[in-house]
Subunit: 384 residues, 2 copies
DNA sequence: TTGAAAGCGCTAACAT
DNA sequence: ATGTTAGCGCTTTCAA
């Protein structure tokens, strides 16, 4: 009743065409059962070498490639882990000739992708990536979820209600944000501690007092945590603790960093001794503006960023910042997922905080003025 | 006979647990047929709103997520395209604290991934990525091939014999290399023309005469094409045309670029007026070494690279190079694959050559000595 | 070591 | 607008 009749179209010389060959075709061609064909691919050693060769030869001749879908359905695993990330770049934006475009350089998500891919590969897994799109039943997320053994989600990518449903069916790890759902795994970086250490350095080691913090309008959890760390340091130093950032940039881009800096310089009253930016991009923008305005860094004002993007070490002066281990985060996520997938019984959800590293460079008055990487102490990580 | 009996484990309050729910469970719970459940996800509009809500509610309650594998098997499409790339970075290498690690910056493959993901997303596709591993029946490549509607392969990633088989079953586009297999699509960049233009610029506009070309030991097709372009320019100028590169670096890294430069400086005879490197990494290494040696660039010697990596514009002096549109290549690949997948009948294989762009900067004696991007004319692309 | 048979969970005609 | 019924191509007991 099944498809032995299922055609392998043949041209004159016997090469397969048009229809995609299946196990049945290979089995027929090599004179074995479909079970044996399957075994050749799943556990070659359980098949006699002679038989194996026969099957492989037939497969080659037919152009046979096992269907991943059929395998996945039958075996209930895919050997794939996934990643959903926000669509920073509008996919419809023109790629143009790629002017200053390149400079965006290594994105947040690129690093995570790289880390995950690497760790996945070590375990024989492939990585499925998809930037978030609209919600709804047929969102990309749902598609991803149905096709992987587990996946990671960058914060603010997938609606919580969707995750609520999905995370019951497949392991999900939330990246860089609050956990949101209590039975999900969760990895974040020490945003608060990082900014605290950085600010403390400005206060204690450089003796600065009038600081300004530039955050973002939409106040992501990450930026929020950084601001908290900033406040912690001020509080500890006995300085007035601001309720809100001195400025909130609509976007955390270089251009906005420039604009924010200009605004800050134009404000009445004494100029801040340090500009603490919520990310590197903005800080780099500030560097440009300050140079134009004839304000020296770090002599007249210190500048700090957050993220540790490659650009931060090549600007002049090199930027003091807090390095986020995004690559590492990707690796941890992959390892965690793969462990979840292979573990016999469900263990309690994990929450992991990755240590960040304060990188002291020229823009705060430290380190060598040029390249290199004088770095401070790594913060201890927490687990639980 | 089928699984209406298929258990939805229930706890006291009726929440589903343990077993993954299927269409049958959702159908039962909402009092419709499995076909209707399927319709709710595939074409919501073909179902009465009231029914749809009922089904969705049940799905939510049960924690139902459609199985991608089952869908793929039944519908014979996956909505996924793939990419196989070489494993530049050893996955087992320690990620360490990430010292100078970051500087590797945006890799070749990152850009392609980004381009493909973006184009894929525009069409509602997700992207499956896998770095190549060993060959054999159970290679990652085979896994990818079986799970996608089509995929792209970076040159020298997958054994030709494997591709031979696989490309018969699913559309494959070869990236950046020779086509290898005649029925495969193929996209490459104008390596030869790019290096030709660049060399010609050195010869014609700067009046240089004694050039040296630094290639690679393994002589990839890309590097080979670049060398050809270099020779074309020399020939055209009536200069002696070398049989082989002046030096072949074992790896195209910065360190090797330094070493090569040292070797070249130590050679007897007049020093070259220009060092033409087969890629940017090596050229950057050269810049360092030349500075150490007290040789001025471009006054004493011009230096050029190839690729247009971000680093090339921040080094001192900024590097004259040929920018490869890798992002664009990713996009083209994705578009091509998706077209192949959706096209009614097979059209002849495509071979596309993407134009590159000579970027004239300080290291050859052009442009502003600092940042920015004075760029020359784009080369025309070819199609066919 | 190999074969036979029963699904895996879904989509896609075809009915109704 | 909804239900019925076959498979999609593979893995997997269970026998032989």
């Amino acid at each position: 009743m099944n498809a032995l009749s299922f055609g392998v179209d043949r041209t004159g010389d016997g090469a397969a065409v048009s229809d995609t060959p299946t196990v049945y075709d290979v089995a027929e061609q090599s004179g074995v059962s479909i079970a044996t064909v399957s075994r050749v691919y799943r556990s070659p050693d359980s098949v006699r070498p002679a038989t194996r060769e026969k099957v492989l030869a037939a497969a080659r001749a037919l152009g046979y490639v096992p269907s991943g879908s059929a395998r996945g359905l039958a075996s209930r695993t895919t050997g794939i882990i996934g990643l959903c990330f926000p669509d920073y770049a509008d996919p419809d934006a023109d790629s143009g000739a790629g002017e200053g475009d390149e400079e965006a350089g290594t994105l947040y998500s690129d690093q995570i992708i790289r880390g995950m891919e690497r760790a996945a590969r070590r375990h024989g897994y492939a990585l499925l990536i998809a930037a978030s799109l609209a919600g709804g039943p047929e969102s990309l997320v749902a598609k991803v979820a149905g096709r992987v053994d587990g996946f990671a989600v960058l914060a603010r990518t997938v609606p919580t209600e969707d995750l609520e449903v999905i995370s019951r069916r497949v392991p999900v790890v939330m990246l860089a944000g609050p956990r949101e759902i209590d039975h999900m795994d969760h990895i974040e970086v020490a945003n608060r501690d990082g900014e605290y250490q950085l600010t403390r350095h400005l206060l204690a080691d450089h003796g600065l007092r009038r600081l300004a913090f530039i955050g973002s309008a939409d106040e992501s959890p990450d930026v929020g945590a950084r601001f908290e760390g900033y406040r912690d340091a001020l509080r500890e130093a006995g300085l007035p603790v601001p309720e809100a950032p001195d400025l909130r940039a609509p976007l955390m881009t270089r251009a906005e960093g420039s604009r924010a800096t200009r605004a800050l310089l134009d404000r009445p009253g004494p100029r801040p001794e340090a500009l603490v930016f919520a990310n590197d991009q903005m800080a780099v923008g500030a560097l440009h503006t300050l140079e134009e305005a004839g304000v020296r860094v770090p002599e007249d004002v210190a500048v700090t960023g957050f993220d540790g993007i490659p650009l931060s070490r090549v600007v002049r002066p090199p930027l003091t910042t807090v390095r986020q281990p995004m690559r590492r985060m990707g690796e941890e996520a992959a390892e965690l997922l793969i462990q979840r997938v292979t573990e016999a019984q469900r263990t309690p959800p994990v929450s992991r905080v990755l240590p960040v590293e304060v990188t002291r460079r020229g823009s705060c008055g430290c380190g060598e003025p040029s390249g290199g990487g004088a770095s401070g102490a790594a913060l201890p990580g927490a687990e639980g």
